[in-house]
């Protein structure tokens, strides 16, 4: 069995950034495994702009953004394999992949970075009520058909869910000649970024209905109509509020879920984000297995995916140099008031670096202060004029402050 220092699984915005950073930090024996036939992952189909504002201080399309990383991978001569699907992983970091050229290959890795992205919640997962006709499709799949294969999925479209991909697809399908009738969002606020509401809906006169969801899908073979109903504060359908839309396509943009089937093979605790439980090094509970990007928690901005992955890449390099002590005291991090999750879920004392906590709020809030507390001790306070669930929030804690902590740390937001 081939021994290798580091395997990076996935070559999207996270995988390539992680591999580049690991290489820059002295990891020379490494390999990227990509399941598709080209590097870049889902960015290949994201032909809209809005990428790179943080990373490159300019506005790029998805393919432009990923090309910068591809160029760097090639410049640094980082080896990669395409059409290579990882099919097994053990606690001892023995990894199996399958490919046309190599057959089944086993690798004994010293460190692994999982950067496998996310998948879309679909009709099954939301138990979409009504008929099982065609014409109901997730936004990302419709995007792939259109932007990669040149295939349009319909002419008259209703979109369920105001997540960013749904909004982007509302504009994209309109530009391609379809009539987008509306976007329906079950929550009383949008799940997408404000800039996308403006640029993808308002600019094209596409109505956004809040607190409304699909109560029935109707169609014998192909979708014929969609019924939308209003929902109450408990998200239950209110009778006699139906709106009927004749359409041939229902696009689902109802959330993304970390795509980490590999976690099923190893004894690695899974968090409420459906990604792995990690420490400040983006290291899972299995020392030497790291994870970053959308397979850890779903991001709204790709630049932050790359940033997080660089941390994982650098950490893997530290681990390979025995500079991470997994026997250190563990401090648990808990989400407090109004917070749905916080990452990392625990930190190792005596941190190499300052720590960035990432979290999301449960509902839109104004005039808030983010509190980082351990017991009664306030470790940090950050004022936030406005917080929305669709935007990930980041707050820092210096490694020196960490020394004052003995108990768990709670991150919460409170009224100012």
């Amino acid at each position: 069995m081939r021994q290798i220092d580091l395997v990076v699984i996935g070559s999207g915005a996270a995988g390539m950034a992680a591999a580049i950073e690991a290489k820059k930090n002295g990891v020379n024996d490494l390999l990227i495994l990509e399941k598709d036939d080209k590097l870049g992952g889902i960015l290949n189909q994201c032909i809209h702009n809005g990428f790179g504002l943080t990373e490159f201080k300019e506005e790029l399309t998805g393919p432009e953004y990923l090309q910068r990383f591809v160029d760097e991978v090639k410049r640094l001569e980082i080896p990669y394999k395409l059409n290579a699907q990882v099919t097994d992983l053990t606690n001892d970091k023995v990894l199996t992949y399958s490919s046309k050229e190599d057959g089944l290959v086993k690798l004994q890795a010293k460190a692994i970075i999982m950067a496998t992205g996310c998948y879309e919640r679909n009709a099954g997962a939301i138990m979409l009520p009504g008929d099982r006709c065609s014409g109901v499709i997730t936004a990302g799949t419709a995007q792939r058909y259109l932007n990669i294969n040149g295939l349009m999925v319909g002419k008259r479209v209703v979109i369920l869910g105001s997540g960013d991909i749904g909004l982007i697809m509302a504009r994209r399908l309109t530009l391609e000649g379809a009539k987008v009738l509306c976007v329906s969002e079950i929550m009383p606020y949008s799940a997408g970024l404000n800039r996308n509401i403006q640029q993808c809906l308002i600019d094209y006169d596409i109505p956004l209905y809040l607190s409304r969801t699909v109560s029935k899908v109707v169609g014998k073979d192909r979708l014929e109509k969609v019924i939308l109903s209003a929902v109450d504060e408990n998200l239950q359908i209110i009778p006699n509020t139906e709106m009927e839309f004749e359409c041939d396509t229902l696009i689902l943009s109802v959330g993304l879920i970390p795509y980490v089937s590999l976690l099923n093979y190893i004894d690695c605790p899974i968090s409420s984000t459906k990604g792995a439980v990690v420490n400040q090094y983006m290291e899972t509970m299995i020392p030497g297995i790291f994870t970053a990007g959308n397979c850890l928690h779903v991001h709204d901005v790709v630049d932050f995916v790359s940033q997080e992955a660089r941390l994982a890449g650098r950490s893997a390099a530290l681990y390979l140099k025995n500079e991470i002590d997994n026997n250190e005291n563990k401090i648990n991090i808990k989400p407090g008031n109004n917070i749905s999750y916080v990452l990392p879920q625990f930190v190792l004392e005596n941190s190499v670096d300052d720590i960035t906590f990432k979290f999301r709020v449960r509902k839109p809030l104004k005039d808030q202060v983010v509190m980082i507390k351990s017991g009664d001790v306030v470790l940090g306070k950050v004022v936030k004029p406005a917080l929305i669930p669709s935007e990930m929030v980041m707050v820092n804690l210096s490694k020196e402050k960490l020394q004052e902590v003995k108990d768990e740390i709670v991150i919460s937001v409170e009224d100012r």
């Binding site: 199996t96 399958s98 009520p129 499709i137 058909y145 259109l146 795509y259």
Partner: protein, 480 residues
């Protein structure tokens, strides 16, 4: 010149395809037609997929007879047809003290039916199935029950019948049937077909077909069953099929492993019209509540799909396996609801030996081969075998479905057989590509393009399921 077939079977579900396979043991001109574009597209692909032991049907009924006979045939059938089958056994559980009496009655019923069962104490039940409600009082254990891959059972029975000489006509919907001279004229939406013997295995529409020949004193009143299908996940849930006590409506809402290692929860049981396979939130909520009484920890967040199927419940409350009153050459095989899957091969033997033989001279087909050529299921092969397969055909190394790890080679293999898939769901049912947590989000475009290339048609022609359920509306660069 009109071609008069010896036998024409209407309906390519589990019953029809099993009869077709049984007929292919003889030198006959047999044809099987279905209104769908594939075998097993309706009831046979949306049910619990349980090979019942036979503890439940009333002694003396067709259900009891064929269930018990069929159950014994399965170990050989799954070998011959290369179908995934787990002989996991079933537990029928009592949650209240007074229900223990009913278990005893069921045990007696099993004895009369000739089914091996055992009463288990609370402790024994919880030892076998730790996730069952700890309030359980006891259970009836039926070790001969099992779970099967329902899709490939039907498709492989069809494939085997075709390989042995039966013709399969898809997209043929029967409009009318008339007797002319000594044969039937079966008018379809396509052409007229002619046959000396007609076998009606039309599932939820069997009463409609039977009425084309004579007035009947029975009817099919379809009952819809909605289900949850859960992902396979690390912790595991149950190792067997768990039933509540049976009621008038059927065997009740069960919790079971599937042959693919997923978990299935359902079905509901409500009368529905014969084309309605929709799902609705209130019914699913009821299923959830009922099932949670038996297994409180079912992780419904792992749901990857909800679906429904129709049972061909008959007003006679038993399987109808008999000739029409006025026509010995017209055989009704109707009302095949649960336990239909397990009974199908026994019904097929009975139909051919007892009902077809008296009206048609049957001569053995010397070339009959009971086996389908084994399929490559990479997932179940050892590493060595996988590497050998990839060495022989590198397509087996290229993974198309990332969730279930299904290779291009496996999909191409299904396409190369004599009952190939024509739709996305046809590929999914045969190979499991698209069966996982992303439900085809990643692999559907690849499979759709593969099908379009294989059949030499535009991507707009590839359906999700039935013809008409197109996925692609148009090509963006198509000339206007």
């Amino acid at each position: 010149m009109k071609q008069i077939h010896d036998v024409l079977i209407i309906g390519a579900g589990v019953t029809g395809t099993m009869i077709a396979r049984e007929l292919s043991k003889y030198k006959l001109d047999a044809v099987i037609i279905d209104k769908s574009n594939d075998a097993g597209n309706l009831t046979s692909s949306a049910n619990s997929a349980i090979i019942h032991s036979g503890y439940d049907p009333e002694p003396g009924t067709n259900k009891a007879k064929f269930n018990v006979l069929g159950n014994k045939m399965y170990p050989q059938i799954v070998k011959d047809l290369d179908v995934e089958y787990i002989p996991c056994g079933s537990l029928t559980i009592a949650l209240e003290e007074e229900q223990l009496e009913i278990l005893k009655d069921l045990k007696e019923r099993s004895r009369i039916n000739g089914v091996e069962v055992k009463l288990l104490s609370k402790e024994e039940v919880l030892k076998l199935e730790p996730n069952i409600n700890p309030e359980v009082k006891g259970a009836l254990y039926a070790p001969t029950a099992g779970v099967i891959d329902p899709f490939n059972l039907v498709v492989h029975a069809m494939e085997n019948a075709i390989d042995n000489g039966v013709a399969f006509l898809r997209n043929h919907e029967v409009k009318d049937i008339k007797k002319e001279n000594d044969y039937f004229v079966v008018k379809t939406n396509k052409e007229d077909l002619y046959a000396r013997v007609v076998i009606n295995a039309a599932g939820v529409k069997a009463d409609k077909i039977a009425s084309m020949i004579e007035d009947i004193d029975w009817a099919i009143t379809p009952r819809k069953g909605e289900y949850y299908l859960l992902d396979h996940y690390k912790e595991g849930l149950v190792n067997r099929t768990i039933f509540p006590l049976p009621s008038k409506k059927g065997k009740g809402i069960l919790v079971s492993i599937t042959s693919s290692g997923n978990y299935i929860v359902g079905p509901s049981s409500e009368f529905a019209n014969p084309d309605d396979v929709s799902t609705d939130a209130p019914t699913l909520a009821n299923i959830k509540a009922s099932a949670s009484l038996m297994v409180p920890s079912i992780p419904f967040k792992e749901t990857i799909r909800v679906f429904s199927g129709l049972r061909a419940t008959c007003t006679r409350h038993d399987f109808i396996v008999e000739p029409a009153k006025s026509e010995r050459n017209f055989i009704n095989v109707a009302g095949i609801e649960s336990p239909g899957f397990v009974s199908a091969p026994a019904i097929a033997e009975y139909v051919v030996n007892e009902l077809v033989k008296p009206v048609l001279k049957l001569e053995k087909n010397p070339n009959f081969n009971p086996k389908v050529k084994p399929y490559h299921r990479m997932h179940y092969l050892s590493e060595e075998q996988q590497n050998q397969a990839i060495k022989e055909n590198s397509d087996f190394g290229e993974i198309v479905c990332n969730c279930e790890h299904i290779s291009l080679g496996e999909i191409k293999e299904a396409l190369a057989r004599s009952c190939p898939p024509v739709s996305i769901k046809g590929v999914k049912r045969r190979t499991r590509a698209g069966f996982g947590r992303c439900q085809g989000g990643f692999c559907q475009p690849k499979i759709l393009l593969l099908l379009a290339k294989h059949y030499g048609v535009s991507p707009t022609k590839i359906p999700l399921n039935e013809d008409g359920s197109y996925i692609i509306d148009h090509l963006i660069k198509e000339a206007k």
